[in-house]
Amino acid sequence: MSRENRAPRWVRRAVRRTTTDALQDEVIRDLDEIWRERAASEGRWAADRWAGGQAFRALYHYARGGQAKAGTGEEEMMESLRRDIGFALKQLRSQPGVGVTAIVTLALGIGATTATFSVVHGVLLKPLPFEEPDDLVMVTTTTGGSELPRFVSGPDFVDMASSSETIADLAGFVETTVGPMTQVDRPEHIVTTPVTWNLFDLLGVDVAMGRRFTATDAVPASQSATTRPPMAAIISHEFWLRSFGADPDVIGTTVRVWGGSTEIVGVLPEGFQLVVPPELNVPPDGDIWRAMRTDLSEWSREARAVRTIGRLRDGASVEHAREELARFSSDRRRLHPHHDAESTDFVTVGLVESAAEPLRGTLWILLGAVGLVLMIACANVANLLLARGAVRRSEMAVRASLGAGRTRLLRQLLTESGVIALLGAAGGIALAHLGVTLLHRIRPADLQRLEAVQLDTPVLAFAVFLAVTSTVLAGLLPAVQLSRAGLVDQVRTRGEVSTDRRSRDVLVIGEVALSVVLLVGAGLLIRSFSELQRMPLGFEPESVLTVTATQSSRPRDERQAYEAELIDAVERVPGVTSAGIVFPLPMNGVYDRSAEYTLDDRFADPAGWTTAYFRTVSPNYFETMGIELLRGRDFTPLDETYDVPIVVLDERLARQEFDGRDPVGEALWVRGMEGDTLRATVVGVVEYAPQWDHRDLRPTMYFPRVFYQSHEVSVVARFAGEPESFAAAFSDAIREVDPAFPSDLVPMQQFVQDRLARTRFLLILMQLFGLLALGLSAVGLYGVLSYSVRQRVRELGLRRALGAEGPTLTARVLVDGLRLAAIGVGIGLFGGLILGRTLRTQLFRVGASDPTTLIGACVVVLVVAGFASLLPAARAARVDPAVALQEG
């Protein structure tokens, strides 16, 4: 990077900031001149080093009392600070064991905390990458009784946009599709999201190349025209690199997406992500954003398909918008009663709060947990310093008698812990860097805005803040004690000082208590995770491969033939035992489908309708997935050709509605799928299989494929043996039927695992923090006990001389250690109960004060404490009476 021929910018800025206004220009001019001369004679590097020194001196003067005081006494301060640091380093070198242990301990604590904070900062605290993100809101609808948020219908979107007084502008997008883009030679599957033309204007996101959409991009093409002009699309930077080799002439290129011609009009800036709440179901990093070209007001008022984002007018708050939308909802009920059987309510929330909502709890819990680890680390270091302090009592006494004031001693001691903390922070930052790199590599599913997670300035500032805090936490107590000793204890330089011992005991008790808290947290999560994994899936994901493709609309007959052909082709692949087609794929993590049902006797009652998932499946789907047929029959190819509505229920729905009666032959009214309300005859009952994730308990209705035209189909196939070895043949067979099918096969097991990803992420980190805490407090306990054994050599030796047996002494020390641990465990239990309550939302089928977990954590801590005490205890038994007495 080339720079102008003068001192580095940060130096000039630092010097300028810290110099009186009248002198600034002259000082900067001198600075540049000298820099140039030095650069010429000694080279740039030397000149920069000199300039850096100047900046630090200027900042130091400034910090020491501002410009006015510069020049008086700051030299001495500087000198004394340098001496303190030099002395601290000498101390560290003279006792490398203590120093290294303290630095490593703090590095672990600071590293873990910094890494966690970088995630909290990136995901929760960084503003969304949009213009004035606080003014952005999300608008959704809810239906009486249903908790699933839904989107906005086209006509409602248009009405709202034209009438709203609180929302200046509304933009939206509809469901993302994955489909083939046919370029010159190879088809590629790209993620396309149709958006309203004003989306990027509303967000305030500018394109890196080309242009944003304009209103003309959204003019519906007339149906009669023989040649329809291409649709306008803006592509992502990544897609531009991947598929167009960063071609600078990409603007104006026409590609065929879905067989429709699409013109690329713009390229988004690098790293653009449409960070919106997960409910909106849009992948943040799609390939193509296409301007919708339909008249939204002509859509059905019942099809609530538009994911809607609004920007508040100046001065309007989310609260205002909420009130207005309540009015809008009641007006709508009045104006369109026939469209409002479900009594729709429009709701709005700020985009910023809701974007990170699902992770918020998890992340704050993690940050709290890692903060506890850091506290344990600090307690450990404080302990080390206290122990070492005892040795330095005489040194302090001498210093004090030579006239060093208490403040001076305090300053020196705090400088020492400051040096340790700074070195620890340096190690911590390195560790955090490692952690963040690792996180980027793992890319946990569900963690939005991962790109924003970086060790940037605020995060580094936080690390420095941690270092300062640790200095105070770990250094203050030892320093205060020591400096007091220096003044009071001038003569008594030997023997045990009880206040000292007490503070170390308190620290160890605190460490043990904190580790109990963390272990309780980790234990609760482990239990809850294993509960989740024990949840019956209803299907057997092992040995099942899936592949999903978006479908263009085909006439019904053609669709049936096409799907039959697909299944046929897959079933012919050697190794395939069974194959089927489904929409939507269970646990796909992106979307689900719901409809409402009722029974004959409740048909007329508007409140008698219940929401359930629905899924359309081909014959053999149940067999392929390993879903057991409990009653009645599976679908047959004949069902696909008849118009008689039939349905297969899962056992949960059957139990809920038919309560012991055999549902086969009964009828179910269903509405909200597609077209009219159906009266379907129940032909079978199958095992319950969750639709969304392991916690899902909502029942599902299964229909033959013919009753719903899905925009995607998933082919599932069960293999005998390792599915991976059949993948290529599977993929080839499908693409022989339809070359537009993507080749990325996903094992069903992967979807299942992904749904557990967030819980697993939390679990792994909590376990890690729990182990770290346990290890650190074991080290702490060990340190305190071995120190106390060393201190009591005389006493122990005397006891030996008076006839005490070795084992008796061992037991004494062991009991000492366990006593401390037991007190800590007692206190920790309370903390554990509190943490359990905080964790409640993250738990599944495990009580917040689960006794097994609480007892387990206590036992683990006590056992580890026992082991940590064992070594010092054994040493106590080996004390040689003669040596001990001599030492006295």
Partner: protein, 114 residues
């Protein structure tokens, strides 16, 4: 002592350095002379600020020179020791000399300073 004010250590050093110039000197010249003779690195900005303060306290004179053609650019402040400053330095020197007459530090200098 003049006006009852005592200079700080750094002020003394800067003023003494300034006294070493035959004619008036710029902040930069003082900075360079100071680092050369004492061998210690100081803050350029602090030298400027201190010179300005010495001027305000009446120990140094200051005038703004027309820019030399070779320098181009803006005028520079130039400083020179004032009579009050000279008197103050003389007084200090006297005090120190008296103290030095009594002091015997040489035996200790053989030891390590620490």
């Amino acid at each position: 002592m003049v006006r009852g004010k005592r200079p700080g250590e750094f002020e003394q050093v800067v003023l003494l350095t300034l006294a070493g110039f035959r004619s008036d000197a710029t902040g930069r010249e003082v900075y360079e002379r100071l680092t050369e003779t004492t061998g210690r690195e100081v803050s350029l900005a602090a030298v400027h600020i201190t010179l300005q303060r010495l001027h305000e306290k009446g120990w140094a004179r200051c005038h703004t020179s027309a820019p030399a053609a070779s320098e181009g650019g803006k005028p520079r402040r130039r400083y020179a020791l004032g009579p009050d400053g000279a008197r103050m330095l003389g007084d200090l020197r006297e005090q120190f000399d008296r103290l030095w007459g009594e002091a015997s530090v040489h035996p200790l200098l053989a030891d390590d300073r620490g």
